[in-house]
């Protein structure tokens, strides 16, 4: 369950995306932030996180 702080983070991210980076897909952007929120909670390393992000971006590109 997302905390108030996380909800705020996602809201600001979406606001900035919509205003200045609307070419970036909203779902992908949210997914990437969610990966980091989980990574901090699960204690994942930066390289593990990067691999997941790269896979997400590629997956997203393939689906478009």
């Amino acid at each position: 369950m997302a905390t108030n702080r996380e909800m705020k983070l996602f809201d600001v991210l979406e606001e900035v995306r919509e205003k200045e980076f609307s070419d970036l897909p909203a779902t992908l952007v949210r997914e990437i932030l969610a990966i980091h929120v989980d990574a901090v909670r699960d204690g994942a390393t930066l390289s593990e996180t990067r691999k997941r992000i790269e896979a997400n971006i590629r997956e997203h590109g393939a689906s478009e």
Partner: protein
């Protein structure tokens, strides 16, 4: 959200055997009263040890092995200690964290964590506790109120300590999520750039550009690795520096212990003198002690004597009066000298008869004299209250003996501390040299990291420039690589921009929330709120928005509490606070206001207060139904305390 359920401590600090506190309510305030030296800081450290595996004193970390209860250790009852903290997370998930320490075991410390009924592996246990209660945020939840002064540094200071404090605040606010996201997508972007360089190298027209791009990217990767290496070296160096500084602090502690030892020894001499005086005073009344024992017998004998004396004395007095009258009659020619009436022979005879009837014999007179002398002696023996004086003087001597014994115990304790610190003057000099070397090395490493950082930025600019040159290369990029580049680049900028926007917004929210709490706890009506600076420092402002300079120590304390309250409200791990001497710097009115605002600052608050730190009646009134329990840190001996209900 963390909610304490119970803490159990065994042979920890002055707490011999098992002591515990039950947190019977999910919200409220628990107050533990204790005089100096009774174990308030040790109780705070019990929470700290359970969650973070460390104990701290006012001047820095304390070696854990010093926390084994001395009496239990000397009595052979314990060779270590245990702290168990039960809490719930998110209202339902039950956790039990037990940390034990055993002297002579390697490693001395053991951690056992049970989460929702499952016992975690050793490695998972450590990570899980650190995730629930991050050590770098410990200062926001478990603290000595004296530490609140450090938040003033946020106003206008720089340096590692302030940087760490700011980083901890940003962590509570969630900013590192965005920074980590930006770093991750930047790495993905580097990966995309490497693929592009490989692609460009395949075509004769773009080979040179591809090679330059690959080279620039290679240099950047190398620089990133170098920066990582130097950062790790810096962390190691700083850890060494911390250890050296700790040794030096211990030396300062030993200087303080020596000073304290000297003053205790002087006190011991004084007490020795006072004990001598009290003993002499007692000796003075001791000779009369037998009176106490014989008093009732004397009183009985005296009563018997008085019953014999009384008729004899009456007869003797009457005879004396008659004799006196007869003598007067003989001198007055048959006229009474008192009533001037004539005296005939019959009246004169009657007087003479009375004299004969009342007169006592020589033996009786002698006996009366003896009896009266005895009665006088016995009377003196039954007068006065020697037993009361004796009891008072004996009590005074006992008091002095107790003070003496306590003083001696404190001296023994200080001697042991001094032995445990065990650092000589020569070692101090060597540590000082080592510290100075390490400080120079630290400064050089930081400069080196800054230089690498600059070179990375330069390299990034070069890569962007090279990439632009081949933007419209004739051979088309693999669409997946092109997409990877575009999206990772866009994401990097997006996360950086979001971090900037989010930081600014949260700063404002902290300012508003801290301002609300401050207004609830301040007593100076002219102080109208708080203003936050870029580094999360808070200033007090008046109605016109003008900053109040030179605030008092008490107001520093209030501003820091307001900041902590605000951070608690934004923290996903909002939890209880445990505070040592929370009101030491506050006047009674501010204390009352803080009490009232406590439920706003934290759901559960454990206050470790010294006697007289606040007016209890005022506290009860201020806290009302929020006051869950009051406890007493009860002295058993100088080295032993018990947590008792009050």
């Amino acid at each position: 959200m963390i909610e304490f359920r119970r803490i159990e401590i065994e042979n920890f600090g002055p707490y011999r055997g098992i002591n515990h506190i039950d947190f019977s309510s999910r919200t409220g305030v628990w107050v533990a009263y204790g005089a100096n030296g009774r174990g308030k800081t040790s109780l705070l450290n019990a929470f700290r040890y359970a969650l973070y595996g460390r104990v701290e004193g006012r001047v820095g970390p304390i070696p854990v092995d010093r926390m084994v209860n001395e009496i239990a250790r000397e009595a052979g009852e314990a060779t270590g200690f245990r702290v168990t903290l039960d809490f719930t997370l998110g209202g339902t998930e039950e956790w039990e964290v037990t940390r034990t320490y055993e002297m002579g075991r390697s490693p001395g410390e053991a951690l056992r964590v049970s989460k929702a009924g499952y016992v975690l592996s050793r490695e998972a246990a450590q990570e899980a506790v650190a995730a629930v209660a991050p050590p770098e945020l410990s200062g926001f939840f478990l603290f000595d109120a004296e530490d609140l002064r450090k938040y003033e540094m946020l106003l206008d200071q720089d340096g590692d300590a302030v940087a760490n404090l700011r980083a901890a605040i940003e962590r509570v606010l969630g900013i590192p999520f965005l920074m980590r996201a930006s770093a991750s997508v930047s790495e993905v972007n580097d990966q995309a750039m490497k693929l592009i360089a490989e692609h460009l190298k395949k075509d004769n027209h773009t080979r040179a550009a591809g090679e330059s791009l690959a080279e620039a990217q290679g240099i950047k990767t190398q620089l990133l690795e170098e920066r990582q290496k130097e950062r790790s070296a810096l962390i190691q160096l700083q850890e060494r520096l911390t250890r050296v500084e700790e040794d030096l602090r211990q030396h300062q502690v030993s200087a303080r212990v020596v000073a304290k030892l000297e003053s205790e020894r002087a006190l011991l001499d004084q007490l020795k003198g006072q004990m001598r005086t009290a003993t002499d005073d007692l000796k003075e009344v001791t000779p009369a002690l037998w009176k106490v024992v014989l008093r009732s017998s004397c009183e009985r004998v005296l009563a018997a004597l008085e019953s014999q004396i009384s008729p004899l004395r009456a007869r003797a007095d009457a005879a004396t009066a008659s004799r006196h009258l007869l003598q007067k009659l003989e001198e007055s020619d048959e006229v009474c000298p008192y009533c001037t009436q004539g005296l005939d022979a019959e009246r004169e005879r009657a007087v003479r008869d009375l004299l004969i009837a009342t007169d006592i014999s020589a033996e009786e007179r002698a006996s009366l004299g003896r009896l009266e002398a005895d009665a006088k002696i016995l009377g003196a023996m039954t007068r006065g209250e020697p037993s009361k004086v004796l009891a008072e003087r004996a009590r005074r001597l006992d008091e002095k003996r107790l003070d003496y014994r306590e003083c001696q115990e404190r001296i023994d304790e200080l001697n042991e501390q001094l032995e445990a610190i065990g650092i000589t003057e020569a070692e101090v000099n060597s540590r000082n040299r080592e510290r100075n070397d390490l400080i120079i090395q630290e400064s050089n490493l930081k400069k080196r990291i800054d230089e690498i950082e600059e070179r990375i930025q330069g390299q990034e600019a070069a890569i962007t420039k090279l990439r632009k040159k081949v933007q419209n290369a004739p051979n088309p990029l693999d669409p997946a690589v092109a997409e990877l580049e575009r999206i990772s680049q866009g994401l990097k900028s997006l996360f950086n921009k979001t971090a900037e926007t989010y930081r600014e917004r949260m700063r404002k929210e902290v300012e508003v929330k801290a301002g609300e709490i401050f207004l609830a706890i301040r007593t100076e009506e002219e102080y109208k709120g708080l203003r936050i600076n870029d580094g999360y420092g808070l200033s007090i402002v008046d109605e016109a928005g003008k900053e109040i300079p030179n605030r008092s120590a008490g107001y520093e304390h209030l501003v820091a509490l307001a900041l902590l309250g605000a951070l608690q409200s934004f923290s996903p791990n909002r939890g209880p606070i445990v505070v040592d001497s929370p009101f030491g710097r506050l006047d009674p009115l501010n204390t009352e206001r803080v009490m009232k605002a406590l439920p706003e600052i934290a759901n559960q608050a454990v206050l470790l207060v010294f006697e007289g730190e606040f007016d209890r009646d005022v506290a009860v009134r201020a806290l009302q139904e929020h006051l869950v329990e009051e406890m007493q840190l009860k002295r058993i001996s100088a080295r032993e305390t018990e947590i008792a209900k009050r």
